[in-house]
Symmetry: C2
């Protein structure tokens, strides 16, 4: 298939998305046109994913890569308190990949996530590469004027929260490095449990997996869950919208480099410090279960492991009572407080340590 | 230098650009924030440039690559009749390149062009690659609501125009393939002749080149000019703004694949045909001069050579008298007219041929 017929098909598919309001021209012209609105600010994010650096093809089914490509950018929009609307995709692949099933499966995963959040693929570019796959994911969103939540707004006394559970994505990466691979059945299972749509129960595969969820997870199920935490992250779009619309948070960042790094980023930008409680860090259940048997420290994975794509944010005391307990089924945990300018610290039992940034790259076990 | 200190420096440099109004948050957060305006549509374009495919490092000084990276996207915004405002850059390089001068020279060229057109670098992403350089250039611009000039608006009877001269970039690529290389002196000369600022005449180098321009060009000067047409294209930003603001054109495209291909694109999207006059095609002077001696056909280069980044547009008869003759010193040529649905044709003396799309890739000489 030529680049042109591919773009034609992609254009057709993007045009058939139901929520393309305000995209006056999408794929197929020199550029895309989006109608602007008053009282809104535009949020723009770009994420470059390089094969062999940001992902490994052998460990990443194309469908999951399509999902993750969009997910990391949706997470950035959420971290600003914004609502995602439009996406763009620049994609480079070797000639052999353009003619394989890779791109179709990639776009299956990409569009499934886009449709779930009402995001319209509005443009992009394609090129050839010699060997590696390179993807630049761009997402545009909106927020009420002045309501975007930057990293720089945290003040002493603000309470620190994090969505979901931590450490799962880093554990998943370790499992991949040790040779574990996601199986197709768990991929399907995860889809059904997340989509929560009418299909549930209508196909034997899905019925079986719904039944499985009732029973206690086997080790293999836990491993598959952790692989999907790494390969199929869930951007916290709903939380981002609520926090932005209700103006509840003073600062926010998504956990892409790891809690220790990202909390340090937030505090550096806010010219503040922080004290968090080790016992309050929400540890991924599967990490706790599997690490206990393998002499790994779940807390270290939760603190320094990257790519959980949970949201970390600060809330002034007067807003705490207005915080929802869950959004889209995802809870939050109160893990500490912002302090005056100082180091970021963590209290573990009765001792207080400095929490230095340690991205997953530098993580030792 | 680490990725972080590089981003800090880039952030500082972007923040020192003078025209960053409406960028509420640029580099350094999860995403960028831009204030929206009523009565405007947003124009978005992305261009992926891959080393070894879209450019060759040995033939492309980093400064010129920085220029071209932004220029191709500015050309897309111009081709929609838009005004460019904000840019984003996703960039992948091998570790060794991050520590070399490459990126500093790249950004010298990038920012020189950005500053010339009041474009603010508002964000982006960086990643490592194994070997090749990969760049995704994103530019956002604006146009009055409904005034964007798409490819699809041409109607029978509209007159077809093209800015500048054609064939130079393709000739430049042929020269590069034959081993010609741009020299630093001509790079400086081109800068001075384009910028038209007060520095002219203040330095010996520039004075010398100004003097050169008075004399007839040597073959070497012509070769250097053609190399720069390929490596340092001039996006027709001024023409794009005038055509969009004055609503003069019904359809427009920039010539990136070649006149034959791009006119076919425009006609296909407009469900129309076209008849152009071979004698009216504006041929690059240096191409005419050098091709005559080398048995190359300047017209073939002008028709099928890509990357001239001139604008090709259609104007209804009633608007023709309102067309400016030049914008920013760049003239236009009237090359033919849009017809009812049919093939794109070209009249050469008394014969009429079908003008099939032939990108530069397929060009034979």
């Amino acid at each position: 298939m030529s680049e042109f017929s591919f773009l034609d098909r992609l254009r057709h598919r993007a045009n058939s998305q139901k929520h393309s309001a305000r995209v006056l021209t999408g794929i197929g012209d020199d550029a895309s046109i989006i109608a602007q609105r008053v009282d809104r600010d535009l949020i723009v994010t770009t994420d470059l994913l390089v094969e062999g650096v940001d992902f490994y093809r052998g460990a990443t089914p194309a469908r999951l890569l399509g999902h993750k490509t969009l997910a990391v950018s949706l997470s950035d929009i959420a971290a600003m308190g914004g609502r995602p609307f439009w996406s763009f995709l620049s994609m480079g692949m070797a000639r052999a990949d353009w003619t394989s099933n890779f791109k179709d499966e990639f776009f299956d995963g990409y569009f499934a996530l886009a449709d779930r959040f009402g995001v319209t693929l509005a443009g992009g570019d394609v090129s050839e590469t010699k060997e590696s796959i390179v993807i630049d994911s761009i997402v545009l969103g909106e927020v009420n004027s002045g309501a975007a939540i930057k990293r720089s707004g945290a003040r002493a006394g603000d309470q620190i929260y994090v969505t979901g559970k931590l450490g799962g994505a880093a554990a998943g990466l370790k499992l991949i490095e040790n040779g574990a691979r996601v199986n197709q059945r768990s991929e399907v299972k995860d889809q059904s449990s997340e989509r929560n749509d009418q299909q549930r129960g209508s196909s034997p595969t899905v019925r079986e997996s719904a039944f499985d969820r009732e029973a206690e997870k086997s080790d293999d199920d836990s491993i598959q869950s952790l692989l999907l935490r790494q390969l199929r992250p869930s951007p916290r779009v709903g939380w981002g919208i609520v926090l932005g619309d209700e103006r509840l948070a003073t600062a926010m960042i998504d956990i892409s480099d790891g809690l220790s790094s990202d909390l340090n980023h937030l505090c550096r930008e806010s010219n503040a410090g922080a004290l968090i409680e080790s016992s309050s860090i929400p540890l991924d259940d599967d990490v706790k279960k599997l690490c206990g048997r393998r002499a790994l420290d779940p807390l270290a994975l939760a603190l320094h492991g990257g790519e959980d794509f949970e949201l970390l944010f600060s809330v002034p005391p007067e807003n705490v009572s207005r915080l929802p307990r869950r959004v889209d089924g995802v809870p939050i945990s109160h893990i500490g407080a912002i302090t005056g300018p100082s180091e970021v610290r963590i209290r573990e039992r009765n001792r207080i340590w400095t929490l230095t940034p340690q991205g997953f790259e530098h993580f030792r076990n």
